[in-house]
């Protein structure tokens, strides 16, 4: 039957659906018609929702025709059409993407459970939250080689932590955007629906990380997937920095936060210098805050190529967003026409019944047959539209997905901009330190023997200057590193985008053509059945 994941093989997808179409038995001889075969066939064809609703109405029309069920034609959001829908991790794993160098890391998110928050606040009673079972299968050496399997329980907060830590560690990379914290405004839903939506979104997100060539090997992800109990990743401490987006941000190494990675040189620094360094950056941040007035500090971007790149991405985003919107409208229109076709079919079923029961003239019996044929064709077309649409959504979902990728790209760009800002801010700080020292030295030389306190001051400043110089060269190195990350990541994203979109277009076109052909067959059959009424001259 229909495979759930075969992005690359659209031909197989089409043939599978062809088989399903053939197995749909719609047209039966009137008296002994059996509508039973259709529900089962259509159930296997429906991927997400069941067609159990056919049973009630089918009793009424059993003698004539299997009517369609409209319940599952409800438009589902792009998210839940994901191929990671209802998979059971117990079953052998599928590959959702073309295998990369036979290294795979596959993640399932399942079994949401409600847990009570242990609260030590004054508020009586607890709040609750949901946890999800995260199952991982991989053959990567970092995880222990082939046959490795892990299960952990995580809550959404943990995912936020993971996402934040990745953003900090992998600056300049195009990192997949994590699912939203809040519910989509337009949808008022039951908690069940929300949990399911979140589960699906988490699954999508984690698997995107799992196929990112660099991130899949990250320690943060490994810890998230492997370590049971409390997530061993500290939440990002630097709240102030995070709030001032684009202002001074430092790699962990400089602020000395991380336990895991420590620069030996920094460790050797005198504590005083370290504190001063911290103070310098806090002061810098403070100055930015003070100068805020709603205007961010301007990064003097001199790299023309980079600016052009950014513009191009912005334009692409606009067009993509537009296309994504039109794609949604298209899907809605396809759904509508399918629904109406089905309703038309049903109306003709009723007419057939009327003309059959207690027919007084032969002309009525003939007409009843004609109407039944129309009903059959219309119902068949309605089903075809529904399936066409389910496939269309799958394909065009890529557009929607890439809007997320652009967000990630912009994030990578801003990593670069903020790194440049750090460099520039430090440069100007150096300049001002230098001039302060010179001024002090000039006045000190005038007083014979020197002013004790002033000399001390000069010494302090000179130390600070040295530290700042080191900091600046560190920042420059960081900036260059991020620039390189940007470049290689953009290359990767470009390549993947090209592949993905070509696949999407081909899939979309094949899909449309295939279903149009099937519909043509159904209508040609009806034309044949009514050929006796051909008008003269046709």
């Amino acid at each position: 039957m229909m495979k759930q994941e075969n992005h690359g093989d659209e031909g197989a997808n089409l043939h599978a659906s062809q088989d399903d179409m053939e197995s749909l038995v719609l047209d039966e001889p009137p008296p002994s018609s059996n509508g039973q075969s259709s529900p089962s066939a259509s159930t296997s064809v429906e991927r997400h929702s069941s067609t159990a609703t056919t049973s009630s109405t089918s009793q009424n029309f059993n003698s004539i025709l299997e009517p369609p069920s409209y319940a599952d034609a409800i438009f589902t959001s792009f998210d839940s059409s994901s191929s990671n829908g209802q998979e059971n991790p117990k079953q052998p794993s599928y590959q959702s993407d073309p295998p990369t160098r036979s290294e795979f890391l596959k993640i399932w998110v399942s079994d949401p459970e409600k847990e009570l928050e242990l609260t030590n606040s004054l508020v009586p009673g607890g709040t609750s939250y949901y946890t999800y079972l995260i199952t991982t299968r991989t053959n990567m050496p970092e995880y222990g080689g082939p046959g490795s399997e892990f299960t952990v329980r995580r809550r959404f907060k943990d995912v936020v932590t993971l996402s934040d830590r990745l953003s900090e560690s992998y600056r300049g990379f195009v990192i997949p955007i994590r699912p939203d914290k809040s519910v989509v405004e337009s949808q008022v839903m039951q908690i069940e629906q929300f949990v399911e939506q979140r589960r699906a979104a988490l699954s999508k997100y984690l698997n995107k990380l799992a196929v990112h060539p660099t991130l899949k090997k990250s320690e943060e992800l490994r810890l998230f997937l492997v370590v049971r109990g409390k997530l061993p990743l500290a939440k990002s401490v630097d709240m102030a920095s995070r709030m001032l987006d684009g202002a001074v941000r430092l790699p962990r190494q400089l602020t000395g936060e991380a336990a895991a990675v420590t620069d030996v040189n920094e460790a050797a620094q005198p504590a005083k210098g370290g504190r001063d360094l911290l103070r310098i950056f806090r002061e810098l941040r403070q100055s930015v805050v003070n100068d805020w007035g709603g205007v961010k500090p301007i990064v003097v971007e001199e790299d023309k190529e980079f600016m052009e790149r950014k513009e191009k991405v912005a334009e692409f985003e606009q067009q993509l967003s537009n296309l994504s919107q039109q794609a949604e409208s298209l899907v809605k229109a396809q759904q509508d026409i399918g629904e109406t076709m089905g309703e038309l079919g049903l109306a003709f079923v009723k007419l057939t019944k009327l003309e059959t029961e207690g027919a007084m003239f032969e002309s009525q019996t003939i007409r009843a047959t004609d109407m039944k044929n129309v009903a059959t064709a219309a119902v068949k077309a309605s089903r075809l539209y529904r399936e066409l649409n389910a496939q269309t959504v799958k394909h065009l979902d890529k557009l929607h997905e890439y809007l997320g990728v652009i967000l990630a790209v912009n994030s990578a760009f801003s990593d670069r901009s903020s790194a440049l800002l750090t460099v520039q801010t430090l440069s100007s700080e150096l300049v001002s330190l230098q001039s302060r020292i010179e001024k002090l030295e000039a006045t000190a030389s005038k007083i014979f023997g020197g002013d004790r306190s002033r000399m001390r001051k000069i010494e302090e400043l000179k130390e600070t200057l040295k530290v700042s110089e080191d900091a600046k060269s560190c920042a420059v190195r960081e900036y260059e590193r991020i620039k390189e990350n940007n470049r290689s990541e953009l290359e990767r994203v470009d390549r993947e985008r090209h592949e993905d979109f070509m696949g999407m277009l081909k899939g979309f076109v094949l899909n449309q053509a295939g279903y149009a052909e099937k519909m043509a067959n159904a209508w040609e059959k009806l034309a044949e059945e009514t050929s006796a009424y051909k008008r003269d001259g046709n």
């Binding site: 692409f316 039109q326 007084m360 002309s363 090209h498 149009a516 009424y533």
Partner: protein
């Protein structure tokens, strides 16, 4: 003999040779907007070709407007009780829509069909009112039309009300009866039930058919928008992938046009025939109401005659000098009663003939509509499939680039 009564430009009985076979064919053409503002209306050219002796000549052209057709329909309804008068297209309520090209064409077609159905009905074609309609000059027609409105006008809707009133207590109180006066004919009951059910189901089918037309238009529109957006993205991309998007966009736009075309075909060749069917059934309902009316009158008369008879006997016994007068009245009433019975029986007979013809005709009409529907949808689906398939080799070259 079954003939296709649905014809676009007239002749439903093509003459073998002009002089031998009697023929009457009409065409309603050339809609023209006349008048200004609120008073504006559409006038049609009605061309009659005939060799009927009652007619003034082999060809006649007159100008008529919608209300003239309404006049004709009402006159026929009055005169030919029992016959299913062909239905007229509705008056349009929405002002804006009234003069759209599509509406005008749909109405013109429906009016053409209307007159031709009358012209090919063996009873109705003899009508003097038809002759007037087809031949009278415009002033005469206008006079007749104005005379008709106000006094005499009984719309089918009114008759439906009367039909409902048959069930009401009013006439029953007058007659001193409790039960409603209705035919107790099981077959006729069956027919009535069938007609009422048929109208409901047909109306539903027509509603969905109309929606389907709209859906085609909507799908066409969204394909067009989708195509435009794809082209814009293609231009932005620039490379081989961009080209692919551009090609996709162009195809979408082309298909959008196909969809709009098919929507129009669907409207004319499928939705309209269904609408026509609904109207025909409504016309039958009006005839049913008429029949109920006639039956009631007949019963009332019968009652009155009985009372008169009793009264007459009484007077005869008492040797009243009013006997002569009473006898005279009694005889008159009896004649009236016989006349009413005859009329009623004619109605019943006609209806029975009509229903056979109606069923046969509708099977043909619908068969044609279904065939056109199927052909149209098949055509559309095939061109969609072809269009997308033609894109595939282009996509191949783009991806390998």
């Amino acid at each position: 003999m079954l003939t296709t009564q649905r014809s676009v430009s007239g002749s439903s009985q093509s003459p073998r040779s002009p002089s031998s076979q009697p023929y009457l064919s009409v065409s309603v053409t050339d809609p023209v907007k006349l008048g200004n503002g609120v008073q504006a209306y559409i006038s049609y050219r009605v061309i009659t070709k005939t060799n009927f002796t009652e007619y003034q000549g082999p060809e006649k052209i007159v100008i008529r407007r919608y209300s003239d057709f309404v006049w004709l329909r009402d006159r026929l309804f009055e005169k030919y009780k029992g016959v299913f008068i062909p239905p007229l297209p509705e008056k349009s309520a929405v002002e804006k829509f009234r003069f759209s090209a599509e509406f005008i064409e749909m109405r013109r077609q429906a009016l053409d069909v209307f007159v031709n159905r009358i012209a090919s009905h063996h009873e109705l074609q003899q009508s003097e009112d038809l002759r007037t309609f087809l031949q009278a000059d415009e002033e005469t027609m206008e006079r007749l039309r104005f005379h008709e409105t106000g006094i005499f006008k009984k719309k089918p809707a009114d008759l439906m009300q009367i039909f409902k009133d048959v069930q009401s207590k009013v006439s029953d109180v007058v007659l001193g009866k409790e039960k409603p006066v209705e035919e107790s004919n099981p077959e006729y009951e069956k027919l009535k039930h069938y007609i009422f059910e048929l109208e409901n189901h047909l109306a539903e089918a027509q509603k969905h058919a109309y929606r389907l037309v709209k859906r085609h238009r909507e799908l066409g529109q969204s394909l067009s928008d989708f195509g435009k957006a794809a082209k814009l993205l293609g231009a932005c991309e620039g490379n081989a992938l961009g080209k692919a998007f551009t090609e996709l966009g162009a195809k979408s736009e082309a298909l959008s046009i196909r969809l709009q075309k098919e929507a129009h075909q669907l409207l004319m060749n499928f939705e309209e025939p269904l609408k026509d069917y609904v109207r025909a059934v409504q016309s039958i309902k009006a005839t049913i109401a008429e029949r109920a009316n006639a039956f009631r009158q007949q019963c009332e008369l019968a009652e009155t005659i009985k009372l008169k008879e009793i009264n007459l006997e009484k007077l005869m016994l008492t040797r009243s000098d009013r006997v002569g007068e009473a006898e005279h009245e009694y005889k008159e009433l009896k004649a009236e009663g016989e006349e009413a019975s005859r009329r009623f029986e004619t109605m019943v007979r006609l209806m029975n003939e009509e229903i056979v013809r109606f069923q046969e005709q509708k099977t043909i009409d619908m068969g044609i509509a279904f065939h056109e529907f199927a052909k149209g949808q098949a055509r559309l689906a095939n061109s969609i499939a072809d269009a997308w398939r033609s894109l595939l080799p282009k996509l191949e070259t783009c991806s390998s680039a």
